[in-house]
Symmetry: C2
Subunit: 236 residues, 2 copies
Amino acid sequence: MNTSPSPAPRVLAFDVFGTVVDWHGGIAREVQALRPAVDGNAFALAWRAGYQPAMRRVMSGELGWTLIDDLHRLILDGLLVQFGLQDLSEAELRHLNKAWHRLDPWPDVVRGLTRLKSRHTLCTLSNGNIGLLAGMAKRGGLPWDCILSAEVFRAYKPDPATYLGVAKVFDVAPSEVMLVAAHHDDLAAARGCGLQTAYIERPAEFGAGQPKDVSPCPANTRHASDFLALADQLGC
Amino acid sequence: MNTSPSPAPRVLAFDVFGTVVDWHGGIAREVQALRPAVDGNAFALAWRAGYQPAMRRVMSGELGWTLIDDLHRLILDGLLVQFGLQDLSEAELRHLNKAWHRLDPWPDVVRGLTRLKSRHTLCTLSNGNIGLLAGMAKRGGLPWDCILSAEVFRAYKPDPATYLGVAKVFDVAPSEVMLVAAHHDDLAAARGCGLQTAYIERPAEFGAGQPKDVSPCPANTRHASDFLALADQLGC
């Protein structure tokens, strides 16, 4: 972790999938509620694995601008046969696709955000679309000051337009924004744009059976086990 | 008011300047705090009067896409000599320009929104930029589920892209969205896109000295004296 003193960030921008909410647990649970025989763990991992390649198809220009809801559906349609889900009705598929709106926050999140909100402006910075993020926040009681998304900037992370876009929206310098994320690649891209960065350990992001390496990266401004620990570090 | 039964709206989208916050009182107070000799009422009316013409310059293509913060500054710069404000420093001008971020909500707003939020998704739909609306919400404790703005849609109201954009963001039919506003022209444009509409009386929008005609328009779905009365009507 960088030991030089950094000014207190005015804005904390949060990655969402994996950092704020447990996508693996939520997706596995929802598919098993529909079809108990499906391997929920394998299905969640497969659906999520299609995410980066799908966004690359958009950013390369192969697909026009596409909301994550629609990319999730595109990926889902490609998994139906493999997981024996081809008999799901259109209504069931639409419902399952919106499981990404219904993901639960990790246990520390609501208390941690509430503390952090007292001294900072809190926003999302997710590739998820605005409606997805707003539905998730309303359901989970996530106290965002503002929902920002790739949809606002018409670019997915790690495009610099997203990280710099947060600073522009709030009319602050990039160094006054801290990206909070459980993914070192996202944080590295933010750092490349001049943002401060906080890594959050989410060892169970890929499920209890696949513990994630949560080793610190010295380049990050902060490294915290969860949002409560980050609030401690930031004096909130 | 339309007496045919309308389905309960899922999303309430709120106009902000005049409907949620008292721009006249806030601007008059802030300019007089800087220069007590200025006629705060006349200054507030003049600054606001520049708003529609400035947006028309953007929508006609004469100006490129411009945030309301920047349009406010453009208009302000044109008023300095008339109001004897040409000696303000750049820092004072920047501060005054952000008075639009610091407008107070009308007295019924926070309680009304809190009640309405229990059964509806609440968002802004304002020509104000996202940073302005987020700062105002944080300062005033406005419990939005989501901040939507002309900035998200790259079009100002009354462009249909804004009203229809709300329905698209939340993946609902236009008839499942209700625009809540203190301005009949805004509501008429929303109605033209298939939204439900609620008119809110704000007789003091232009100051106590210039009471506004708040007569009902029968085409609106609802007509309410304030947000508490709207919550009563919607059973919240």
